[in-house]
């Protein structure tokens, strides 16, 4: 308890950093992932190819490497950005590949007839996708999509590796002050468990609300 209460300020600010990283990356990865999924089912071959290459590249690269590229390489190659923003970009790009594949799985569960009905009414490809297919696809993949986002929440700790102020670095701060690293890690784990609970509740709520409309 001393480890926690002695460092409560540190603990809370760090979890604040984790939440900020997660919320920004979650939003960005969901948007980018859905756009990528749309590209992968597009009738335009170049779009499909781009989507496929993106997913292959980002999904097959360890997150640590992606983040190191942004932490060390990006500023050297292009221009200066704060570490927090670089971490958000790295996490979003990486997670988007998984969101894309999950949503694409959802698209394949939507019956062909839904798209046909939309086309017969005069909708073009983009409208068919955004108004009819994607809303149903996303509803059908809520559980795996939540899992991808939970993984993202936990992946934010990797960002601790390059001085982003977040929960994963708590144990080091405690250690420097002479506290028990092990206990600190346990508190961090507990913190994450508490953070994941609202996500799970949100998933259940949405699943329940959408149960008739699928």
């Amino acid at each position: 308890m001393d480890v926690l209460f002695g460092n409560l300020g540190e603990f809370l600010t760090r979890f604040g950093g984790t939440i900020a990283l997660f919320v920004c990356s979650a939003i960005a990865s969901l948007i980018l992932g859905v756009v990528l999924a749309a590209m992968r089912v597009s009738p335009v071959p170049a779009m499909r190819a781009t989507g496929t290459v993106y997913v292959t590249l980002l999904r097959n690269t360890p997150l640590t490497l992606v983040l190191f590229f942004f932490a060390l390489g990006f500023t050297k190659l292009f221009f200066y950005l704060p570490f927090f923003l670089l971490a958000v970009i790295g996490l979003s790009l990486y997670t988007a590949a998984f969101v894309c594949e999950t949503v694409r799985g959802g698209i394949s569960t939507v019956s062909e007839g839904q798209a046909e009905a939309a086309r017969a009414l005069g909708f073009g490809f983009t409208q068919t996708l955004t108004l009819v297919v994607l809303p149903q696809a996303v509803r059908s993949v809520m559980p795996p999509l939540t899992s991808v986002q939970i993984a993202l929440l936990k992946n934010t700790t990797v960002a601790a590796g390059f001085s982003v102020f977040e929960a994963g670095g708590f144990y080091r701060a405690v250690n420097e002050r002479g506290g028990s690293t092990l206990v600190a890690l346990l508190w961090v784990a507990l913190g994450f468990i508490v953070l994941v609970i609202p996500l799970t509740v949100l998933q259940r709520r949405l699943e329940k609300r959408w149960s008739v409309s699928r």
Binding site: Q114, A120, L121, G122, L131, V212, S213
Partner: protein, 254 residues
């Protein structure tokens, strides 16, 4: 538009000329010529696999064709893209499996296309949607989702959804084949009402009663060809070909 004849009567609502279509080795449509006049109700009959469903779907190019032309109200169907989508908006289609948008309420199913394709203001579209749902007898279910309705009700909503676009012609692709027998009547009633109101209709169906009562013409298909094209009366009482006699013998003895 390209028609040069002076003072000619308006073009047929649907015109298919020399339409060909293959599914791999299978020749599903062979040199189809078909014209449907304004306000005409054409019922397409034929054994399964005769190509009648493909013919219906080729009219709005949901099924791409290999050769020939399809014209709607004098305009040839363009390649897949914006212009084709625009033309499809004028062609209502009702499917065997209803295909109502599962994530939208009944009302929103009917409102979506007029607002998003035609740019009709939402309030106006909703008012018209309610009137249409009332016409097909589903007004009370407007806030429910498709899965909460029976098959017959869903199909009537699908008809209302197509009508909301104020189509020039309606295509029905086996609209009652997926229904429980006791629900066929309610859908046929709505279709008969439409026919009476002068809607141009192409109907692929196995409902011989509808063909007899509501059709102006019966087109009989076999093996991808139009074998007979005549009035319901002469088709049912004096079928001209062996294949038609065989078909009628099989369905009417049941």
């Amino acid at each position: 538009m390209s028609d040069e004849t002076v003072g000619a009567s308006p073009p047929p609502m649907v015109r298919m000329a020399g339409v060909d279509k293959h599914f791999g080795d299978l020749h599903v449509l062979r040199d189809i010529d078909l014209e449907v006049a304004r306000g005409e109700v054409v019922v397409v009959l034929g054994p399964s696999g005769s190509g009648k469903s493909t013919l219906c779907r080729a009219i709005n190019r949901l099924e791409p064709i290999d050769g020939g032309t399809v014209e709607i109200d004098g305009t040839p169907l363009p390649e897949e893209g914006k212009d084709l989508a625009k033309l499809r908006a004028d062609v209502g289609m009702v499917f065997q499996q209803f295909n109502l948008f599962a994530h939208l309420t009944i009302l929103d199913n009917v409102v979506l296309a007029p607002t998003r394709v035609r740019g009709v203001p939402k309030a106006e579209a909703q008012e018209r949607a309610r009137a249409l749902l009332d016409r097909v007898g589903i007004a009370e279910q407007a806030q429910k989702y498709p899965a909460q309705l029976s098959g017959g009700q869903q199909q009537r909503v699908a008809i209302a959804r197509a009508l909301a676009m104020e189509p020039k012609v309606m295509l029905f692709d086996e609209p009652t084949s997926a229904l429980d027998p006791e629900m066929v009547g309610e859908v046929i009633d709505v279709m008969s009402g439409l026919a009476k109101d002068g809607m141009t209709m192409v109907v692929v169906t196995h409902e011989m009663g509808f063909a007899r009562r509501a059709a102006h013409r019966v087109v009989f298909m076999a093996d991808g060809e139009i074998v007979e094209d005549t009035t319901p009366d002469s088709f049912f009482s004096r079928p001209a070909t062996e294949r038609a006699r065989d078909f009628l013998g099989k369905i009417l003895t049941h």
